[in-house]
Amino acid sequence: MSEFAVELRDVVKTFATPEGGKLNAVDHVDMHIRQGEFFSMLGSSGCGKTTSLRMIAGFEWPTEGEVFIDGQPQGRKPPFQRPVNTVFQSYALFQHMTVAQNVAFGLEMDKVDVNEINRRVSEALAMVKLNGMEKRSPRQLSGGQQQRVALARALVKRPKVLLLDEPLGALDLKLRKEMQLELKALQQEVGITFVFVTHDQEEALTMSDRIAVMSRGKVLQIGAPVEIYERPNCKFVADFIGETNILTGQVRSVDGTHLKVYVPDLEAEVSAVAESQFQPGQPVHLSIRPEKIRLAEERSLNENCFAGNVIQSAYIGSDTRVKVKVGKIVLKVWEQNHISTLDPDAYFQQNEQTWATLFPENTLVLPFEEG
């Protein structure tokens, strides 16, 4: 057994556009998905997630590069010869078959004997809590139930890898949250590698062991949720995952991973940390998350402390979301409401003077990007 359940090695998929041009929907992508991992592809619509997934399933063939499943190159193998199964966004349940017939379909194709089929079908339906629904038509099920049938139908074949293309996209928010946890629990229970496609970063953070952040056909960063959130490797990832404040400046001095960056909009130097190498004089971005900035009435002793003015304050229960004008920049700051009180002075008010501290270890230096 290979260390990796699925590998995309330098995969390119080119489509002809209707205008007669060419488009790399997937552009030199490398992904190494480990056995038993819950792996997510995350990116906004059109970034090539579905195309990548379809190349693993065998619905599309790479223009360049190779897809490996369990160490085996897949070449131009059709879908029915690959040890993977897919849960489609539209579920694609066969309307002319009952729930049980839908789930049994894949096993019939494998010529499993009838008793074994019956046993495994009821097992699979029990797993997704749909026992008793065997005789129903998919039309007589709610969206969430249909989603479970699609899941059971794919899992009953015990694939090496389960591919899921935005499977929760059609569900309402509450059901979606429930299903996220259930799906994650299910994955841990069956131990099958899940490759999960979503455009919802919160969903990806909640469920995944590792996430590949994609944009315009390229993989920008692959890592655990905590790495992606705390150590984004570029402005796009920092911006896309959660919220952040981006400042732009120029490196003044480098001392190991500690940098001093001059930010013209603050007319000041900001101390920050970097994960990669930078040279003095280089233009860079700084990223700092709103919940990691501290506001105080008094100036702190920290070097990155700037005077500001609250221009907007919104109480949202757990936090107070504040916009602070510092120099020429407006910083988003989320202050947690630690203390329960009705005293308005305990919360930030508009036009209040304040001091914002950008702790250097929370301030990340990222390569400069146009736009």
Partner: protein
């Protein structure tokens, strides 16, 4: 506004439309029980059951009672023959055109080829072209082709290719295929390709996918198309008129022949049976489809 309350105008229109559609049929059916052989006016039904008794052109008593003309019909060898021909032609041409039409619709959906726009357009030609033109066209084609083949292959006597039930079936297929194709194409519109992908993903090869998933999902469309082809074939007169030969007379052709002599209530009886058959076929199919969909 209460949706159950309709204005008198709507009611009137409804009555008029239904009357216009169904009155002729009711009259036609009524006349199939007419006691009068000349069938010019309705002279009451044959009321007595017993050995046949005539009074001028009036049937007073018949072994079948009011169903006199239906019994006569049953005894008429020519009618039975024509009915058999009609059904053979309709069933055969329906099955074949349903097959070809479905495959054509699928091909037009899936593949891109150079003549695709032309192929799509050519589907409408048999529909919009006057039937008589098509009939003459097909007749010319067959007679030219047969003359050529007969001499080229040296066929003589009974072996010679000639107009008959085969040519009628071929011509019926020719005008039925576009209807099936268009109906199936309508069904294919918005047909989500992911159903087929799901089947293949679960291990079905192309053939099994077609058989187990694509076809069952298209079936309502195929059935509607086939029903259309079937009814078109059943009551086709013009094209059949040009392409039939000895021994391949169909009911419409036969009725036309009868009309040129005298209109006995037998013709009405025949029409009544025919209408009942078609109504029950349509009804059955509707039941079948509503269960499918």
């Amino acid at each position: 506004m209460n949706p159950n309350r309709r204005s008198p105008f709507v009611n009137l229109m409804t009555i008029l439309v239904y009357g216009f559609l169904y009155l002729p049929i009711i009259v036609l059916i009524t006349f199939s029980f007419n006691a009068s052989k000349t069938n010019i006016t309705f002279q009451g039904v044959v009321s007595q059951v017993g050995p046949l008794k005539m009074q001028g052109s009036l049937v007073v008593q018949s072994p079948c009672g009011p169903f006199h003309w239906f019994c006569e019909l049953g005894k008429n060898k020519d009618v039975l023959n024509a009915a058999r021909n009609t059904l053979t032609i309709a069933v055969t041409s329906t099955i074949i055109s349903a097959l070809i039409g479905t495959m054509a619709a699928l091909a037009l959906q899936r593949y891109n080829f150079r003549l695709k726009p032309f192929s799509q357009l050519s589907l409408y030609i048999p529909i919009v072209i006057p039937e008589i033109v098509m009939g003459i066209g097909i007749l010319t084609l067959f007679s030219q082709l047969f003359t050529f083949l007969n001499s080229a292959l040296g066929l003589t006597g009974d072996a010679r290719l000639a107009l008959g039930i085969g040519t009628v079936i071929l011509s019926h297929i020719a005008f039925s295929v576009p209807f099936v194709t268009l109906v199936v194409q309508a069904r294919l519109q918005g047909f989500d390709q992911s159903f087929e992908e799901a089947a293949m993903d679960l291990g079905a090869n192309e053939l099994v996918t077609f058989w187990r998933v694509t076809l069952p999902m298209l079936l309502p469309g195929v059935l509607s198309g086939a029903l259309m082809a079937f009814t078109l074939s059943l009551d086709d007169f013009v094209i059949t008129f040009f392409t039939n030969g000895p021994g391949s007379t169909t009911l419409p052709i036969y009725v036309y022949g009868l009309l040129r002599r005298i209109i006995t209530p037998q013709v009405n009886a025949l029409s009544t049976v025919w209408i009942l058959l078609i109504f029950s076929a349509v009804f059955l199919l509707q039941r079948l489809q509503s269960r499918q969909a």
